[in-house]
Amino acid sequence: MISSDPKKVQRICFDNIEVENMHKLEVAKKHGAYAFLPTVLKEFDAEKIIDEVKTSGLRGRGGAGFPTGLKWSFVPRNTGKPTYLLCNADEGEPGTFKDRDIMRFDPHLLIEGMIMAGFALGVKDAYIYVRGEFLHEYNVMCAAIEEAYAANLLGDNILGTGFSMNLLMHRGAGAYICGEETALIESLEGKSGRPRFKPPFPAVEGFYGCPTVVNNVETIATVPAILEHGGAWHAAIGKPNNTGCKIFSVSGHVNKPGNYEVPMGTSLRTLVEDFCGGLQHGTVPKVIIPGGSSTPWLMGEHYDVPLTYDDIMKAGSFLGSGAIIIMDETADVVAVTRRLAHFYAHESCGQCTPCREGTGWVERILTRVDAGEGTHADIQVLKDASTHMAGRTICALAEGAAAPVLSMLKHFPEEVEAKLKEEQAEKSS
């Protein structure tokens, strides 16, 4: 079951997450779902909605943190082509598992957000692209969408307002790269999910060459509260430029791993100690991965960092999707890095040579090092290969693959050395 809220902090997406049977329309309606939708469809127009979202300061919750209202305003109008809204529910970054809870426990929140966003963007057909492994979540969402159609919340002439929109669930099939928005579009077009060059950006030329907005689940699920309470209300939560609440997925060596939604700016220490029951061993984390496995590592000295896009960037990393992996003093950092390197080598789509070759090369060296068969020469190659992968490819996967390797080499050189063949030979002689 969903982790409870021990501190009763303000929440947005998780406001009703613990309500039993919230996935059913009848229950969701009792707790306010769709109550404000008729007002939006009858009294708001696209400009007002986009203005409210801009005022709210909402930044995309999928990882990049781009301002949502601004993204929506880039969509050209009257092109003669349909505009598409795609919800990114691919959620494949190791450490990230927040969208899963919105979909399985409060699917109508996401549907309501899709209708409102679709109305603002003039969308007739919207799709939710969910990772293939989330079969349960897919089924819950499909059932909720069916209920919404039956209640005239989707389909033709929604609630008699003249606005019509269709919504369809679409399952991916096990490819991390499809979380990248242009790879997701390729995949939804029935192809292998290989990222496209940008520009053109999807806002102008996306799904089947048409204007397309791709937003994360959490981003879309925040929209109903923003429109109901106003952009200024949202902007007053959190910190300037880092407004609202954020769901943090905390896993690794904490006593109560889970999803916790807190106002942005809450400190990492508060999150781990008050919500996650502290660390399994020790008092200060050895490694903090702040935003999913592709973000550079922070150290124990950053335990008090406020969880905002800006503060984490100042500390040397990224907030990303808010997926925090904590390692305590028992962690074997070389083994964990080797495992992550395997992940990136496995998930590289293969279209860019530096990524295709580099991720495999790094994985092979790290496997050797972790097994006690590496040499000092390997370390330099590891450093060079990782450095040269980053920034030389169509998408950011290679950069994400380099982050843990470079972090490990920077912060734990002695642990890497201790596993090298030369060091071991010296010890035994």
Partner: protein
Amino acid sequence: MSASEMPKFSEARLAEIDALIKRYPSAKSALMPVLYMAQQDFGYLSMETQQMVADVLNLRLMEVREVVTFYTMFKEQPHGKYLLEVCTNASCMLNGADELYAQMKDILGIGPGEITEDGLFSIAEVECAGACAGAPVVQVNNVYHEKVTAESMEALITKVRAGEAI
């Protein structure tokens, strides 16, 4: 394989596919959902099944092959009745997934890509299952089992062998 042995979607499936195609701007978008249907109906995606999907969607076989081979959840080989997939990525690893996978291999006496003699089990190591709070996670035919321990793993295998529901 003779023509009579070629896989064929049921009429109900074909109607479902027709309705699905209309939900997308182009029939090609229906490829992944139709592959899932084929996998569910025929167990795995043999070359004949892939050809059938290509025919139904009016695509070239190569377009279907490009998708089938890119995504890990499309299976080109048969597997046991129960496919046990252990996530061994970072958060699961930090909570004992490697040991769990080794134990699973020991109990069943098979490696990845193999099927137990009774046809019941296959195993695989998978990338992040996206359920890190429940680490370590094991998917059994796409149903998540979270916070799996050596004991619960063994109990699950025993139950399946005894024909009990899991």
